[in-house]
Structures are given as C-alpha cells and as structure tokens.
Amino acid sequence: MKKPIAGGSARVEVLAPPRTARRGGAGAWLENERLLAAMLLTPTVLLLGLFIAYPFVMGVWLALSNTSVGNVGEFVGLRNFYKAWNDSIFRTAFWNTTWYTAWATVFKLTLGMWLALLLNRSFRGKRIVRASMLLPFIVPTVLSTFAWRWMFDPTFSVLNWLLYRGGFITTKLPFLSDGAYGMWCAIAVNTWRGMPFFAITLLAGLQTINPDLHEAASLDGANGWHRFWNVTWPLLKPVTLVVVVFSIIQTFSDFQLIYVLTGGGPANSTHLIATYAYQVGVATGLLGEGAAISLFMLPVLFVVVWLQLRYLRRLEA
C-alpha cells in the first residue's frame, strides 16, 4: 500500500514547474543516494545472506532434527545437544578445545610480543627477517602441519634425534602417539603458525608509539622492564585486545591443524569441537548430531564477539 503513495509524491516533484525542479533535485539526489546504497550493497547482502545467514538458520534446524545423509529428518527437540553433552568423546573434545585455545593464545601473545619488541629495533637485514617471519602464517596450514607431523614421526622424528644427541632423552618421546603429548604438540604447532600474526600486528602498534616517550622515561631512570610496563603496554593494549579476540575465535574453531596432525587420535583423545563435528556429521553422515556439536562453539564465540563489539563502540564514543 505504501509504495504507490511514495511513487505518487515523487511524481508531484517531477510535475512541478522547471524553476523549482533544481531545488527539488537535492531531494531527488538524496533519494538517489539511498538507491545507490541499496544497489552497491545488494551483491554483498545476497552472497552473505545466501551462504552465511541461510546456512546458519539451516544449521539450527539440522541440530534440532535427526537428519542424516540421504534421510530427511524430523524434529527431535534438544535431543542431539543432550546426547552430545553426555558423550565422553564430546566432553574430551570440548575440554581440549578450551585447553588448546587458552595455552596457544598465551604462548602466541608472549612470544609474539617478544618478537615484535625485537623487530622494533633497527638492525641490518630487518626487512627480510620481518618478511620471513610471516611465512608460517602465509603457507597453507595443512601443508606446514604435514612438515610438523613428519618432524613428530614416531620412528623417524628429527626432534627425537636432536634431543637424543643433545643428551636430554634416552628413549623416544611419544609425540603424537599419546593424547597428552599430542595436545601439547598441537599447541606448539598452532603457536608456531599464529605467533607471526601477533608479532606483525603488535609491531605495527609499536611503530605508532612516539619514541620521545621512551626517552623521557629513561631520563627519569626507568629501566627496560619499567619502560615496557608503564609506557609501551598501556599504549599497546587496544590493538592487543583486538588481536587476542581474533586469535581466540580462530583457535577455538580450529579444524585443519588437528585433522592433519593427529586426526583426533589416538583413541579420540585429541579431538577439537570442529574435528569431532566433522567426524560425526560428515564422516559418519549424522548431519543433525554434527550440526549440534558445532553449534556448541556458538556461546563462546558469541561472548567473545560481544565483548569485541562493546569494546569497539567504546573506542568510537
């Protein structure tokens, strides 16, 4: 009902005498701006709607049904969630995901900050060192994780060789053939891969800090640690927070690293939520249960995203 009226009023403007048409042009132009905005945003909204919003709704529906491959399911309520929660493998996976995210983030932040501080000094060959430091982040994770898997090989591990030759061990370490060791190996590889991201973004933050502040602080007698803690850190906090949030989201939802490194084994002891969802939903074909398992990631992601948005708002205000 509203549309014809709007069209009508536009027509009134067009029919107005030519003298005022120029002034009316401003109104028409404003209309145009809306039209242009709608036009420019259509492709994005369409693609994101079709391949993010729709799958999300669909995922919620799948999680509430007993759909499996080749079998249209029916509504079963929260049964899938209930089942996952009482499944010991799922509980291990959930716990692993939390453990993995927490430690990997701590390591990435500490080492990344350290590396950023080192790279912030001037030295010969700085550009090439900085460029090569980002390599783990550029190279496809799956491929570099394969190199790590070969380095952790039960029979031919070069790391075991190094430790043995260095006199640290007398028998091989069971890198990937033991669940607890496996998780630590995964944390190490994740740290190796993600640390450059922290280092480079923190370095960008460091470069915006005025060196005069450091000079003033050292004239006042502050040593290196004090200068870091009282000058650098407060100024670096905003960018650190954003990087940490990004990293938590990516680490919590990680899939490929575990898929290649351990495949969730031995005996399902190193699954993450995503790899277990894949095993149940795709490998076994229980789409409903798999979708429910991956939806367990949502509350955590939601809290993290919410904090991030609130923080961004506060920055803008």
Binding site: L47, F51, M133, L143, W161, K172, M297
Partner: protein, 283 residues
C-alpha cells in the same frame, strides 16, 4: 662499558632473534631436505650412528618427478589458482561497492548493516560447514569449483569490505565534491576518482584474500570429492597418502610446491600484505 653493552646486546637481542628465525624457518628447511632426499636415506633409524639428518649427499628430484607425473598435482595447482583468483575478484568487487556505500553514503540502517557485516567476519567456517554442505548439494553445486568460488567470498567479503571502508574514510570528501561540481554523477565520481586512489587498499585486500583462499581447507574438503577437482591442500592430504602409508618425500615435495605460489605472491607484495593484515584487525 662498551664491552658490557655489546654483551648485553647479544643476550637480549641477537640470540633471541636468531632462535626466533631458526624456530620459524626450520620446518621449511626440513620440508626441503626431505623432498630432495632419496628414500633409502629417509627411513633410517633415529639412533643410527651414521645418521645425518640435516643434509644429504645424494640429492634427488625423484619425489618431484613422481609428484608431477604420477599424480594429478598439476591439476590441483591449477584448480587452487583458478578458485583463489575468481573468488578474490568477486570479493573485491562486492567489498569495494559495499565498503564505499558504508563509508560515504547516508542511508537508513547503515550502522546495523556495518555491524552485521563485521559479525559475519567473525563467524568461523567450521560453524557452518555441515548445513552449507547440505545447501551446496541442493543447489547441485557439489563437486564443482563453483561450490568454493561462491562460498569463499563469505569470509573474504566481510574482511575486504571492512578494510576498504577504512581506506575510503581516509580519502578526503572534498575530492569527490570537486568532481561533482564539475558535473560528475555520484557513481561516476566513485568509479573515476575514488577507486583509482584506493588502488593500494584494493591491492592489500586482494593479496590477503588470495592467500586466504589458497589456504582454505574445510570447505574444499567437504564440498569436493573427485581427485581431479581438488585443491592443493585437500589433494595432498587425501590423495598422496595411500592406505596407511606415508610417502614422506613426495608429501614434502607437494607441501613445498603447494606453498611456493602463495609465498611468491606474498614476497612481491609484503608491504601490501602487512597493511592488509594489520588493517584487517584494526577495523
């Protein structure tokens, strides 16, 4: 005094930096050494006294030859390249238009749209792959490159929109107003004045998007099934391992060759990549 300083510089700077460099690059060196090492040398006990794991005296290209001649690896390289390029172009197109609209135009719900695009940026692919696989199947896109070309933009568009929006905001509005006084339409000013100035931003977003789609794994794993359609990461994982046997020489050769294109693109545009990387989180 000077000596003490030099000593300090070694402990606090050179040694840690060297350790970082070794730790970061060793896996790549190891990939390379494994790829050129003959099989007879690869599988030798870790305790053997004659073991020299860090170099080889009989380098061989056999693993590379096998990989290129006996597997569909070249086809995977081409698939990955094609998919990465097309999805990057689609994402840049959408990101440019949407980024401009959000940065410059006033329209109802602009804030809400901006926020929801940002939120989709934070939705990880692992949350959606199961329902998305179902949707891809019902659109008859399963096992075609289009399954990936259409889904990769879901994580590329939000990031490039966000990056380009930030970039557009740094371009003074007066430039556009001048063009409009000279008779350009709003659309014309956008295409002829603003987009050319934004080329560095577009390049940053493009490089970053290219590396992201080259590296993508889970969608490619779930949506593609026939060996000749796969991308490099999925092909290496699923086709180079026969049964339970790992041919490490060939695997490492594949890992190396699969990493080189993206590393090359990166090395030519390091600065743009870094801008994209840091811009992608700044918002």
């Amino acid at each position: 005094m000077v000596i003490e300083r030099r000593w300090k510089k070694w402990v606090y700077f050179y040694i840690p930096l060297t350790l970082f460099v070794i730790g970061t690059l060793f896996p790549f060196y190891w990939m390379f050494v494994t790829a050129i090492r003959p099989d007879a040398e690869l599988y030798r006990s870790w305790r053997a006294a004659t073991n020299t794991p860090f170099w080889t005296l009989q380098p061989t290209l056999d693993h590379f030859r096998d990989l290129l001649e006996k597997t569909t690896f070249p086809q995977w390289l081409w698939n990955t390249f094609f998919i990465a390029c097309v999805s990057t172009v689609i994402s840049l197109f959408c990101g440019l238009l949407a980024g401009y609209a959000l940065a410059r135009l006033k329209f109802p719900m602009a804030g809400m749209l901006g926020t929801s695009i940002f939120v989709t940026y934070l939705v990880p692919p692992t949350l959606l792959f199961i329902p998305l696989a179902d949707i891809i199947r019902s659109f008859q896109l399963g096992n075609t490159p289009w399954a990936l070309i259409l889904t990769y933009p879901t994580f590329l568009i939000p990031f490039s929109t966000w990056l380009l929006m930030g970039y557009f905001k740094t371009i003074p509005k007066e430039l556009e107003e001048c063009a409009r006084i000279d008779g350009a339409t709003r659309f014309g000013a956008m295409i002829r004045i603003i987009f050319p100035i934004a080329v560095p931003g577009i390049l940053s977003a493009g490089i970053f998007a290219f590396t992201l789609s080259w590296n993508e794994f889970i969608y490619a794993l779930v949506f593609l099934s026939s060996p000749e359609k796969k991308t490099v990461p999925v092909g290496v994982v699923s086709e180079l391992i026969r049964g339970d046997i790992y041919f490490w020489g060939q695997l490492m050769a594949g890992a190396l060759l699969g990493s080189i294109p993206v590393a090359l693109v990166y090395s030519f545009f390091v600065e743009y990549y870094v801008t994209g990387l840091t811009g992608s989180v700044k918002g």
